[in-house]
Amino acid sequence: MTAKRSMKLAGLAVAAGLAWAGAAGAADPGITDTTIKLGMFGPLTGAVSIYGYPINNGAIAIYNETNAAGGINGRKIEIVHEDDGCDPAKTRAAVKKLIEQDKVFAIHGGSCSGGVNAAKDEFISGKVPFMVMAATLDAISDPPNRYIFTTTLPGSGDGGIMLNFAKTVPNAKKIAIVRHQDDWANAKMKNISAGYAAAGLQIVADETLARNATDATAQVLKVKAGNPDVVLFLLYPGESAVFLRDAEKYGVKGPFVGSNSVMDLLDLRERTGSKTSVNNAYASAFLQGYVGDPALEKWTAIYRKHFPNDKVQSLSFYGMSGALTMVDAMKRAGKDLTREKLVDALEATKDGEAGPGYCKVTFGKDVRQGCLGGTIWGVKGDQIVNIGPSWPKTN
């Protein structure tokens, strides 16, 4: 090989290299010919990690299933995990790391409202498409931003479902409310505060129960003193169990209407340690069915296939609708996938598959909350039943 020819070949190699580098530079981060890198975060450790693995694993099961079926236009989904411990500072750091260090294409994550809200600016400034995993704070997706989407029923919607049910309870005039004092409960209160008077209801007790409370005597006695026709409780599952246990102890009869945090009413009953504690309890729900319901058979099978050692619970289904929506939008965005194309495809989602979710997913130009529907569940014997959005006429 002559020196001249060697120089030519080297020149060609450099040119090819530059061309490749240029092409690679034009593509968005996290995309190769064979992979799409998605970021995922949630509380994998710490006090709230009960909302970490089960929820994220539901989404992962959908992504794994998609990969098993050939992926997205020839690309397989790779997931990078970060633990935010439900701590807003850690959430922000986790999101920064996913965007700047791991260079993910898009992010699907976040089960804690405070953390996701704190990290919101990172998605917006990084122009990174973000699908909320299970956080319910309205402020995350309202006012709408181009890059942030959610298929989870927002807190205000949950509160609205509870109030709509409460006002149909026969002869209901007085309601009592027991709630946490945090963003999560405040979001649910938004529609309740705005709508109770118009519904002809009067609040006779509005009580706070601390996180991790082990006794609700003072709250229950104050509720009892108000003699309400309906009791709304905006509490996490553990505290809901404490409240219902003490309500039964002191003879408060209900009906009790809980948020979707306790839609697994049989689990709630077990936690109270009393077979009769949820007999007159109802809960808002954004799933098509309860654990074991034939309506969720397909999604239960997918979860079990990918996480055979996990207990299937309501939380297992929370992340699925977001994952299905992301998969659908990435497919529709085409082979030349970019972040902007994904956002356009998400925005164009209409009546999308929500999997185990109660409603179809629809976004729009200024619509980022894709699913606002829900229902009310109750318990009959040892079975959760779908009561519907209003008090049953036969009750």
């Binding site: 006090a47 004092q181 991790n212 102890k249 077990e270 936690r271 340690g273």
Partner: protein, 292 residues
Amino acid sequence: MEIPLLLTASGLANGALYALVALGLVLVYKTQDVVQFGHGEVLMIGAFIGYSLLNYLGLPYPAAMLAAVLACGIMGFVLERIAFRPIAYHHHITLAMVTVGLSFALKGIARIPFGADIYTFPRLFPDTPTIVWGKLIVTPQHLVTIGVALALTIGLFVFFRSTTMGKQMRATQQNLTGASIIGINTGLIFSGTWALACAIGAVAGVLAAPDALLYPDMGARFLLKGFAAAVLGGFESVPGAIVGGLLIGLIDNFAGFYIDTAFQEISAYCIIILVLFVWPYGLFGRRPTHRV
């Protein structure tokens, strides 16, 4: 009269638990001058051991609970010997930081087999949810809690007054150097105190778990209330821990009902701040005196 009666009954039951937690804190503090910030996690470990023995090994309820208390006592003895004895004479801040580390370590250990799930701890009398006496409504669990706390208090009183080990513990607490000079094995006293404190923590754990539910982070709230109880009663006083715990339980309930239920979220902090400002040695504590 009905409302105060119900608030008192429930407040005393909760307060009895806080008193037991405070008791463990006070015992360790009196002996080694350190606040055991991992004591809430000792309570949690005791409850998880009881739960495991009951559910997985099928031991009868009393045997499982006694075994859990014994196991935690042994854990306390070993912990002191390997983790605290080597640094026993370091600055108290060092010791306190080690107890914070212990707290994280115990939570981490519990999460390995149990994850972050919330477990339901069986009740001692599952078929008798409540007992009604006129206007008074109590649960058997609450009665057992109050009874056990009372029995433990009397037992400890007898132990410290009448047994050699108890007297040696008091001597060591009052004057460590003097105790060493007269031949008391102070190392054994240190370990024995930790064993006793952890065993009492486990008692609190198995009594609290049926109401509090069982999860690795369950100890934090009890530590906070127990700490407030110890501050209120006087951090160096065993009777103070008991009285302080009962008062905290009552204050929580009465203030929650008559002032605002939101107060319960901050009551412990308010009491700690108030006592430190107004009565820094607590109800039963004494201002230290120095011979000049």
